[in-house]
Amino acid sequence: MTVPVFAIVGHPNKGKSSIVSTLAEDESVAISPMPGTTLENRGYPMAVDGDVLYELIDTPGFQRARAALEWMRSHAVSSVDRADTVRRFVDAHRNDPRFSAECQVLTPILDGAGILYVVDGSRPFGEDYEAEMEILRWTGQPSLALINMIGDSDYSEEWNRALGQYFRIVRVFDAMEADFNRRMQLLQAFGEIREDWREALHRALRVLRDEHARRRTLSARVIAEMLVRMITHIRRRRVAPDAATERVRDELLKAYREDLANMEPPCRTEVEQIYNHRNVERHEPLVQLLDDDLFSRQTWVLFGLTRQQLITTGALGGAAAGGVIDIAAHGTSLLLGSGLGALAGGVSAWLTSDRVANIKVLGHPLGGEEVSIGPMRNINFPYVVLGRALLHQRMIEERNHARRGPLDISRQPVQSLVDVAARRRFEKVFSRLRKEEGYSADLVASLAALIEKQIERQTENRTKHTAQ
């Protein structure tokens, strides 16, 4: 089975590179308003574990189509040898800089590539396209015309009529706005131009659909991990017992805010990379805490035990020691040993805890004051973070690789989880995280599954909305 190869051909500046960039998910494709930006053919093989299923070739486009066609017409013997004439043209001008672009365009086509001819449907058809379309017809290769809608005006009907005379299949495709389904539809159309390419393209479609689903799963997992980290995050600091509470509180709150703010960007970058977006400039405001009342201060003494726990430990230890005396006295002491031991243990723990705190073992103080902020207990916080993350994921999933502008999340309304049932399911997980209980290794997996469902549900809603 031959690997389907498609040469993207057309006038310069009509979106060839945008279409390649979109289909190949490659941001490195130079998209420039300057004609002639693309100097040489550039291949974009779609490979699965190195096994190429199809290849797109971005060509520079014709530059002197009229002159080339004139040469072919003057050298053609009859209409049946047109393809050979084109081949002779390429052979004759392979080293001629004048027809360098024409040779670049025609070489893969003569080697068997299908033709994807791209025009701008937002501009009127012109007679200057006829020469190159005629040359493409002469090659005799299977072809498909794409009307790329670059601007707001719509001349697609006019183009349809003109292109219909040269190409069997004509499709309208907006390279900048095309979502995943439209890209898949276009690839499916590629399979229609030649029968023996259909199987490879169907396999490619299956693989790409699986990959699309996998990307959502991975994105949901990455978002879930970030959410869990943000909700459960605790900032602790050991301070001197006489440290000013206000100052410590402000410093810790600032550090906590920074921690949370630093957790979102890596997640965003990871999601972007999952969708093959490597250089997205993101505009997003920092997440707000919603609630500053997260501060707690407690004395900790001896291996992290609180003063109360230490007194209990001392009392129990004293009671145990006194108990031995009670046993030795055969119970005649009426548990006085245990009682006094508990009292002595508890009181001495209470009295000495501060001194114990200052003792250092291996450079670590045994005790002191510990202040902490977190975990985030505000009930709305997880939904705000989740909403922002879902919005970013949606924008990235919908974002075309042909688009090069910044991703402005700040201007978009944050999605709300309006579905009460969904919110209830999320709340079950969030409350476990907030209360720091019920942890299990698959808690993140459960949250990721909920997020993935949410992503799918929102896509369905959008599809319905678009259909209406």
Binding site: M34, P35, R42, R64, A67, S153, L218, I327, D442
Partner: protein, 491 residues
């Protein structure tokens, strides 16, 4: 696969995955898929895949955080075991102390050496239940700090370079959602190790005293308890071992003879003292049955649960499911095989003034390139506004041949015009075909005669980007008398 190596791998994997996030995802995809393809036979064994991946990564950067963590885990476990043995031995020595004067009260011995353990075992059972039962969660919060395993955990924190590294990774709050169950069972395992050591200590202490000293056991009560009733209680207590070791069940004679009130202090005769020593099989059996065996079971259970949760944690560490997906999913590549060699245009512009401000005094034919002039009347009116009077529009480019173009240029230049105006579609890029035409005009008409390329934007007007495109492209010709002007309303 031992669970200590599992623990070490868990610590290492957490560290490696954390550091790996700094690498580009594309590089990670390629690397992980390469490793994953060598492990296709273990596709449904995620733990093996993760460990194999980790070992592959370790070849590049040898680390020992996990090894150190596992070593600390062993050290603390051993320390707890020893502490348990010493505590048990000490308690047994205190409880079974006999100087020949005061016989050991067998009830006291059993109550001290066995009953607290049974009570603590019940507490362990309660706290081992799922924490979602609020009462049990509260119990753990209240008494959990007394757990020797947790104290060992605090100790482990002292040995870590940072509180989030090594073994302390397990109770780092940031990892709690995934690692808390494993940490919980680690503490449980440690505490049961201590309890197991305690029972070993009690038993060895008791056996030592029984073997190397002459002991006498009695029982007594101020309550009205008959010997028969007491024997019934003991028989019930001895049910677990009565079939296996009938000699460890006290008979009626021993019970009757060892009732303490019947004796006066210090009056034990040699023969009776030997008989009273026959309580020891019961004591050893009671400690073994109600102290040691349950702890062996709880220790084994804790070990099993620890192993189970370590395995689950390994597969659920942040980044681990993503890693498995990368290893087991086909690597799909759609990117260009080679870097692009794109043309960089030098900023060499051609003459042009802001839209609508150009003024010429030109009268003559205007070349209509590729059918730009669809509505001649409107175009002529717009041109007039810039001082260009279009007497006629001469078609060029498009469907006409290059030979016809050459003839047109020759005829045009023969009339020695003051300048040549060429109307083009602003939205179409300037092709080399057009540049050939402009060069032909310049060649035929001579230098210093202005050639004005008029950009026609149709109903949409001329966009700034189209205007820039034309100016920049024509600028490559280096012709100082070449002008680019937009006609019509701006876009």
């Amino acid at each position: 696969m031992t669970h200590s190596s599992l623990l070490g791998d868990l610590i290492d994997l957490n560290e490696v995955l954390d550091a790996d996030r700094a690498n580009e995802l594309d590089a990670r995809r390629q690397r992980d898929r390469r490793i994953g393809r060598t492990l296709q036979g273990q596709r449904n064994k995620p733990i093996r895949q993760l460990r194999a991946w980790l070992h592959e990564m370790d070849r590049a950067a040898r680390r020992n955080t996990g090894t150190q963590g596992a070593r600390l885990y062993h050290t603390l476990g051993l320390a707890l075991l020893l502490a348990g043995v010493l505590t048990g031995w000490g308690l047994a020595s205190a409880v079974l102390f006999y100087d020949g004067k005061q016989p050991v009260n067998i009830v006291n011995a059993v109550v001290v050496l066995v009953l607290p353990q049974i009570l603590l075992l019940l507490v362990w059972l309660l706290t081992a239940l799922p924490v979602r039962v609020p009462l049990f969660a509260h119990l753990r919060g209240t008494f959990g700090f007394l757990n020797p395993g947790r104290l060992a955990g605090r100790l482990a924190g002292l040995f870590a370079r940072r509180e989030t590294q090594g073994l302390a990774t397990l109770w780092n709050p940031d990892n709690a959602a995934v690692l808390a169950p494993a940490a919980r069972w680690l503490f449980s395992f440690w505490s049961q190790l201590f309890a197991f050591g305690f029972n070993i200590g009690v038993l060895t202490g008791a056996v030592f005293l029984i073997t190397f000293s002459d002991m006498a056991f009695v029982w007594s009560t101020t309550l009205t308890v008959s010997n028969e009733a007491f024997q019934q209680w003991l028989t019930v207590l001895a049910v677990p071992w009565s079939e296996l070791f009938p000699q460890a069940v006290p008979d009626a004679e021993l019970i009757a003879n060892s009732r303490y009130y019947r004796f006066e202090e210090g009056s034990l005769s040699g023969g009776l003292a030997v008989e009273l020593g026959q309580w020891w099989p019961f004591l050893i059996a009671a400690i073994t049955c109600y102290g040691l065996l349950p702890r062996v079971l709880t220790l084994a259970f804790s070990w099993y649960r620890l192993r189970h949760h370590l395995r689950r944690a390994l597969c659920n560490l942040p980044g681990a499911p993503e890693l498995l997906a990368r290893m087991n999913s086909p690597l799909i590549s759609t990117l260009a095989a080679e870097p692009e060699h794109a043309m960089q245009f030098a900023a060499a512009g051609v003459a042009g003034v802001p839209h609508g401000q150009a003024q010429y005094a030109l009268r003559g034919p205007v070349v209509d390139w590729s059918g730009a002039c669809v509505e001649a009347g409107e175009v002529a009116a717009r041109l007039a506004a810039t001082g260009i009077e279009a007497q006629e529009f001469l078609p060029a480019g498009g469907r006409r041949s290059t030979e016809e173009d050459r003839e047109l240029v020759a005829a045009l230049c023969r009339s020695k015009p003051e300048g040549v105006a060429i109307l083009v579609k602003a939205w179409e890029p300037p092709m080399l075909d057009f540049l050939d035409f402009v060069r032909g005009v310049r060649r035929q008409c001579g230098h210093r005669r202005p050639v004005i390329v008029l950009l026609w934007g149709g109903s949409d007007g001329v966009s700034a980007s189209d205007r820039d495109t034309w100016q920049l492209t024509l600028g490559q010709l280096g012709d100082p008398d070449l002008h680019v002007e937009a006609v019509g309303r701006p876009a």
